[in-house]
Amino acid sequence: MEVLRIDEIRSECRSSSTLFVSPDPEKWPGFVPGQFVMVWIPGIDEVPMSVSYIDKDPFRIGITVQGIGEATESLRTLPVGSRIGIRGPYGRGFDLSGKKRLVGICGGVGAASIVLALEKAKDIGREIVVLSGFRSKELVMFEDRFGRITPDTHISTDDGSYGFHGLVTDLLRKELKMNDAELIACGPEMMMKVVLDIGSEFGVHSQCSLERYMKCGVGVCDSCSVSGHRVCQDGPVFTDEEIEAMPEFGSSHRDRSGRVVSLKECVR
């Protein structure tokens, strides 16, 4: 773990901010968007966070935090110069090597890993569509970054206060034709469940970034287990085939003791 001072804080929307830190670049050459870091908030908690920005020269990374509980609220409201610990990058990110049109679909702070993945996909020349859903206008984020990736960017809000009024999955259904794209998705599990259904309906392959309670982050404790897969090491990004073989997906997760509990919807 590297304990680093927060270099800069950027507000992304009403409930989310990005914290920038400058880790030693040596651990980062193999980084793939979709990978995550474990973030230590001294005295509070250690939580998994996707990487949402990679700046080269000088090297730094950003993590975009949505305040929803004790750890994320304190992280989001730390002053510049505060120290946090970072370990990682960990896990398996998005495979962006395909050739078809790439549709990035995200809900809430799930935009964090999708925006970075799409920037990378653009660099390697892929055609991109963005579908990004939020609860309401004040929660919209990364609109400018998405816009720079592609004019084919569509924002939805659940309450209709901005962009398309409705669920981002409704946008997806309008966007897809048979077999003509690949999907990458990050957001609430129920949203991703719908994404996978729509994907299979249109014969389109998907990769989704899953969330489970993480403790070790490195594949030993099994706290993040979903049907025998450890999200921290085997994922967080899984393919549609892999997820289809996970009965627990969309239905249950494990609490801190390892007990099965039915999935309560994530607050993002």
Binding site: M1, E46, R83, R87, V220, C221, S225, G258
Partner: protein, 317 residues
């Protein structure tokens, strides 16, 4: 040069339990669910040990619970588990997803001797193949280590569990003691079927920028390559002085480590931390490494290698 032979056999038997190969998933590692453990078997493990179970649910310590070092790991999970009776469903799921050839050992602990025995009884009912008593966790106060450092208490513990269950009972030892042979000897005398050595060593990491202990629990257990030389020594000491089989664990990351432990006298091996760096592929990687080595060196069974370091006349040139 030793002659090349084909197909060295890797199967082992410990008090009547047969394992197709000696590499078991260690307790507390990727074993929260039945499917996870089944996956370890699918990826090459000869058997698995469940996470340590107690009668009642425990959430474990708050994050951070691990420190990831270059040569090991410090963990203070704090023995999280849903309770033995809830965990039975995981055993059942494991059975559904494996062929029946890969034994599953239930690790149990408690805060009293009766607690251990009761927990063992509860989980034994699910049909596990053996019980491993965790008397050596250094990061959960009052739960195990205090018992596992005292030969008399170890003896009482084993006897209590022995009379609670009819399956084999193993005892997992701590290296944090004056003399591990004394502890192992208490196990043997009390009728344990095997000892498991070693658990982690109480350790700590302080972040110098903030001056804080990193782990919420402050202390944790050191595992991984850093402790291997201690584990090999413990195995060797026990194997050279006692008859009880030793199941070795501690820092096994590659086949050379595995062979070293077998030569020190290990009957079977458990793998923990290496799963973090090599994922579950460590099992097949180590398994085929051992086979390749045995073929190249002309060993046809693990028995031929086991404990050769203990006896001068078995040394090779």
């Amino acid at each position: 040069m030793a002659p090349e032979r084909s197909d060295p056999t890797l199967d082992v038997e410990i008090s009547g339990i047969r394992f197709p190969n000696p590499l078991l998933l260690a307790s507390g590692i990727a074993d929260e669910t039945g499917l996870s453990m089944a996956k370890a078997v699918e990826r090459g493990a000869g058997g698995v040990v469940t996470k340590s179970l107690s009668l009642d649910l425990r959430e474990g310590h708050r994050n951070p619970v691990v420190v990831d070092l270059q040569n090991g790991m410090i963990n203070a999970m704090g023995l999280p588990n849903p309770g033995a009776s809830h965990y039975i469903r995981e055993i059942e799921e494991y059975r559904r997803h494996t062929s029946g050839k890969n034994p599953i050992i239930a690790s149990v602990f408690g805060s009293t001797i009766e607690g251990y025995a009761e927990c063992a009884r509860t989980i034994a009912a699910s049909g596990v193949d053996a019980i491993e008593l965790n008397g050596s966790c250094p990061n959960a106060e009052g739960l195990g280590l205090e018992f596992g450092q005292d030969p008399d208490v170890i003896s009482d513990l084993i006897k209590a569990v022995r009379s609670a269950v009819s399956i084999p009972v193993f005892f997992k030892l701590t290296p944090m003691c004056n003399d591990i042979v004394k502890l192992a000897s208490a196990c043997q005398d009390a009728g344990a079927d095997a000892v498991v050595a070693i658990n982690t060593m109480k350790s700590m990491k302080i972040d110098i920028r903030t001056g804080r202990p990193v782990l919420t629990n402050r202390f944790g257990g050191l595992s991984g390559p850093a402790i291997k030389p201690v584990g090999v020594r413990c195995t060797y000491e026990i194997a050279s002085r006692l008859d009880i089989p030793v199941i070795s664990v501690g820092g096994i990351s590659n086949w050379e480590d595995a062979v070293e432990y077998i030569m020190a006298g290990a009957s079977a091996l458990q793998i923990g931390t290496a799963v973090a760096w090599g994922n579950l592929d460590v099992f097949s990687r180590i398994r085929s490494g051992i086979s390749g080595f045995m073929r190249a060196e002309g060993y046809s069974s693990l028995e031929e290698m086991r404990g050769i370091a203990l006896e001068v006349k078995r040394w090779r040139s």
